[in-house]
């Protein structure tokens, strides 16, 4: 099938197994929310998918070709962008430079400029701060910049690691709404890792719940939200 | 009480070992020719110098490229004491230790806050700068240097007893004594504390270790050892001059220590052997290969550099590490 297909993915840090036999699938154009508490292995999952960490076994395919073991920069060229934990912007560079960075590998410079313009339309606040150093941005603005940078490379699959971390509720709403919009308008496939389970599942099509490195539940997001046992265990109420 | 008895046993065994070693070396010294005896003295000198690196870098984790400068301090202190105060030789060596320790303490205090490349840079600057001071002040003898003459061997040792053999005896005695003391220091809680600081400075601080004080202590003792080695060097060439304590010497010391295992005290003997043997092996090779002056001048450097690079890549902690790993593998596969 097209889309992201993860099969029995395992990652070990030395003797410690961070991920054990993770399997799930995300269809093209869908948003999958990966939920779990701290230390569950969510970040490790994304890092294995984007090539930053090595997987010890298993496979992951994007549109029927294997992505495990490839270098991060090679995956960017295949249309996979990873917005890593911690805002993923380079504070020493300006806002504009951070955005340009997203398209630096592309040979089509005019399209890169067009992409940057589109990002500024999506996040107007960035347009006002183009020449400012990225470390002058607020938390929410940095997150927008990070997502913006990923978008400049015109990805088909976006991996997002806890974009809501440390942000005010109203900003979180804004960002999640934008993600939803991106998925609908551009047909992007999105894997959204979150601790903020409720908000994530509300905009998601599928949900995957991970605990201690293993998948404990998965399925349609709407069903997961309404299952009382799961709600009690993982959503807190 | 059990532990005490064990420790005293270990110390007594060590003393016996060293005495045995000393006797062995003297016997060997009797049976080889002048050149080997002289090289023996050189090896003894390098042993002391390398042990200063093992303590400073291998144990307390501070990278110094300037131990050659500390050797210079010791050498000059010894020579000045001997010539101007007319004191006995052993006192001159003692002054070498004292002044280089003092210097080391000062340097250590300034350097305690520095780490990694900043410390390396500072000691590098010292290595280049210090010996050149001799050129400025006349009482330091300038470029040609000052004589350092420990005198002829005692009459009672007989007519056959050459000057070089005398050097060899003195150097070996000093080397054995200083190695013994150093190995005790390294085995004590000082050694353990230094290793703790090196492997995890934050944890060390949190468990109450006063890092800067210990680091300064490491610098002090290491410089004392280097200074002693510098005085022994002066004895073997009967001279102290800036040209004897060059940057190349500082580099050679670090090289020798790494080749033999930077945290292994027994390794200093191997390191010293290598440092003395390589120029000679290179000479032999150069003669076989022909090629003239270029080859004989630069072949030793080529061999040492290749050895060094290979050893950093394959046995960064010295040959002992690979042997230990091998034994572990064998043991665990049963």
């Amino acid at each position: 099938m097209s889309g992201l297909l993860v099969n029995e993915l395992s990652v070990s840090h030395g003797a410690i197994a961070a991920l054990r036999g993770i399997s799930f699938s995300v269809q093209v154009g869908q948003l999958a929310a990966v939920i779990g508490s701290n230390g569950a292995g969510k970040t490790t999952l994304l890092r294995a998918l984007s090539g930053l960490n090595k997987a010890s076994s298993g496979s992951a395919q994007w549109n029927k070709s294997e992505i495990l073991g490839a270098r991060p920069d090679a995956l960017v060229r295949r249309g996979i962008s990873h917005v890593s934990e911690g805002k993923s912007v380079i504070p020493e560079l300006s806002v504009r430079e951070n955005l340009v960075l997203g398209g630096i590998w592309r040979s089509d410079k005019s399209d890169t400029n067009a992409a940057i313009t589109e990002v500024v339309e999506l996040f107007p606040i960035l347009g006002q701060r183009m020449s400012q150093s990225a470390n002058t941005l607020s938390g929410g603005e940095r997150q927008m910049l990070a997502i913006g940078r990923a978008l400049v490379s015109r990805p088909r699959l976006i991996l997002l690691d806890e974009p809501s971390l440390g942000l005010a509720p109203i900003v979180i709403e804004q960002i999640f709404a934008t993600l939803d919009q991106l998925r609908r308008k551009l047909g992007l496939t999105i894997v959204l890792v979150e601790q903020n389970a409720m908000s994530a599942l509300e905009i998601a099509d599928t949900g995957i719940i991970i605990n201690l490195g293993e998948v404990v539940a998965s399925g349609k997001a709407s069903e997961l939200i309404n299952d009382p046992a799961l709600r009690a265990a993982y959503l807190g109420y | 009480m059990e532990l005490w008895r064990e420790e005293r046993h270990a110390v007594r065994k060590k003393i016996a070992l060293f005495i045995l070693l000393g006797w062995l070396l003297l016997v060997i010294g009797d049976r080889v020719d002048e050149l080997r005896v002289y090289q023996g003295a050189q090896i003894a000198m390098y042993t002391i110098a390398l042990s200063s690196i093992v303590l400073l870098t291998g144990y307390s984790g501070q990278v110094s490229l300037g131990n050659g400068a500390m050797m210079a301090v010791g050498g000059y202190a010894a020579a000045l004491t001997l010539n101007n105060l007319g004191s006995p030789v052993w006192f001159a060596f003692l002054m070498a230790i004292f002044f280089s320790a003092l210097f080391g303490a000062l340097l250590g205090t300034a350097a305690a806050r520095l780490s990694g490349p900043y410390l390396a840079g500072t000691t590098l600057a010292l290595a280049v700068g210090l010996p050149a001071i001799a050129n400025q002040f006349s009482f330091l003898g300038g470029e040609p240097g000052i004589f350092f003459d420990v005198g002829l061997p005692a009459q009672s040792l007989g007519e056959e007893f050459t000057q070089y053999k005398w050097f060899f005896w003195i150097a070996t005695f000093i080397a054995l004594l200083s190695l013994f003391i150093t190995s005790n220091i390294l085995a004590s809680r000082f050694g353990r504390t230094w290793r703790a600081i090196r492997s995890n400075p934050l944890a060390a601080e949190l468990s109450g270790i006063h890092s800067s004080r210990m680091k300064i202590l490491a610098f002090t003792i290491s410089s004392a050892l280097a200074g002693l080695a510098g005085a022994v060097l002066a004895m073997t060439i009967s001279l102290v001059a800036p040209g004897a304590y060059t940057l190349t010497l500082s580099f050679a010391l670090v090289t020798g220590a790494v080749l033999a295992g930077v945290s292994s005290l027994p390794g200093v003997v191997l390191g010293a052997l290598i440092l003395v043997a390589i120029p000679e092996i290179a000479d032999v090779l150069a003669n076989r290969l022909g090629g003239g002056e270029n080859v004989s001048n630069y072949l030793p450097g080529l061999i040492v550099s290749i050895l060094l690079i290979l050893s950093v890549i394959f046995t960064p902690n010295g040959p002992g590490e690979n042997l230990r790993k091998h034994r572990h593998k064998k043991a665990s596969s049963h």
């Binding site: 270098r71 | 990278v63 300034a110 840079g121 670090v254 930077v262 080859v295 450097g301 060094l308």
Partner: protein, 298 residues
């Protein structure tokens, strides 16, 4: 007053050459976290090649051009064949502190020995591209010469070129991003390993220029650039290894400081002067002049 002026001018000229070396060291430190002592060896090899071209063609600038190319190739080669191999074998244990330093020291010795085997140890010299005679103003002759002016001009040109490259080109952006945040750079699609090699090539080329400029007024031997390395390193540390601007400032501070010591105190104390300047700066600012609150350490 005149002596003061002379001192400052010569100091700037000397310092500008140190600036090239310290810049090269900082470039490599920022991208690879290694102090590349082999920089002196690379510069020596490049300068010998430049010397060959310059003496055959009798054109200094042609030699300089070849030195830059040779330096870039050697620099790239060292990173590609040596550094990558070195970092594949991750080093732990007591040697971890000292291993990278020793490795580059070993490389320095290796390159130097090869140079010595090929060219021998006798001093060589290159005809300077400008006069070494001091300028005469009225009755007096100051030791500042046309060559000094040329040196300052050449270094300034290179610094400006580098600044433009780093700040205004995509290559420069890639280099900076790879140095500041290698993971983020990778996730943005930058081939950080290749970018790093380019950084080493630039550092190597810059080192080649430094070597040629020094040799325009000094003899060339397998050991003649060692001092340049030491002072370049001191300058880089003074400026705080993290900042390229800092390395230039540190070099000028060092150059002027050393010339002061040379003119007002004595020749042999120049070397220990380097140590004194360094220790004074580090006592006040252990991470160098340009260090702010947050510093990136090894």
């Amino acid at each position: 007053m005149q002596k003061l002026l002379e001192t400052v001018l010569i100091g700037i000229s000397t310092g500008s050459i140190y600036a090239l070396m310290s810049l090269a060291l900082v470039l490599v430190w920022r991208s690879t976290r290694v102090v590349n002592f082999a920089q002196a060896g690379q510069a020596t090899l490049s300068t010998y090649i430049g010397f060959e071209i310059a003496s055959r063609s009798e054109i200094f600038w042609l030699g300089l051009a070849f030195a830059i190319i040779a330096g870039a190739l050697v620099g790239a080669g060292v990173d590609y064949f040596f550094m990558r191999v070195l970092f594949k074998h991750a080093i732990s244990g007591p040697a971890a502190v000292v291993a990278p330093v020793i490795a580059t020291l070993g490389l320095l010795g290796l390159i130097r020995s090869i140079v010595g085997l090929i060219w021998g140890g006798e001093f060589k010299s290159i005809a300077a591209p400008a006069s070494k005679d001091g300028f005469t103003i009225g009755q007096t002759t100051i030791p500042f010469s046309a060559l000094n002016v040329l040196i300052i001009a050449t270094v300034s040109l290179i610094l400006i070129t580098l600044a433009i490259t780093f700040q205004r080109t995509n290559l420069g952006l890639s280099l900076r991003a790879s140095a500041y945040a290698p993971e983020i750079a990778q996730l943005a699609g930058i081939r950080t390993a290749r970018t790093r090699t380019i950084g080493w090539a630039i550092a190597g080329g810059v080192g080649g220029v430094a070597g040629m400029l020094v040799t325009s007024y000094n003899f060339l031997s397998p050991y003649s650039l060692d001092l340049l390395l030491v002072f370049g390193f001191i300058a880089a540390v003074i400026g705080g290894l993290e900042s390229m601007v800092g390395s230039v400032i540190g070099a000028l501070v060092l150059g002027i400081g050393l010339t002061f010591i040379l003119n007002y105190i004595g020749t042999s104390l120049v070397f220990i002067g380097g140590f004194v300047v360094l220790i004074v700066v580090l006592l006040v600012k252990p991470d160098g002049i340009m260090a702010r609150g947050k510093t990136r350490r090894a």
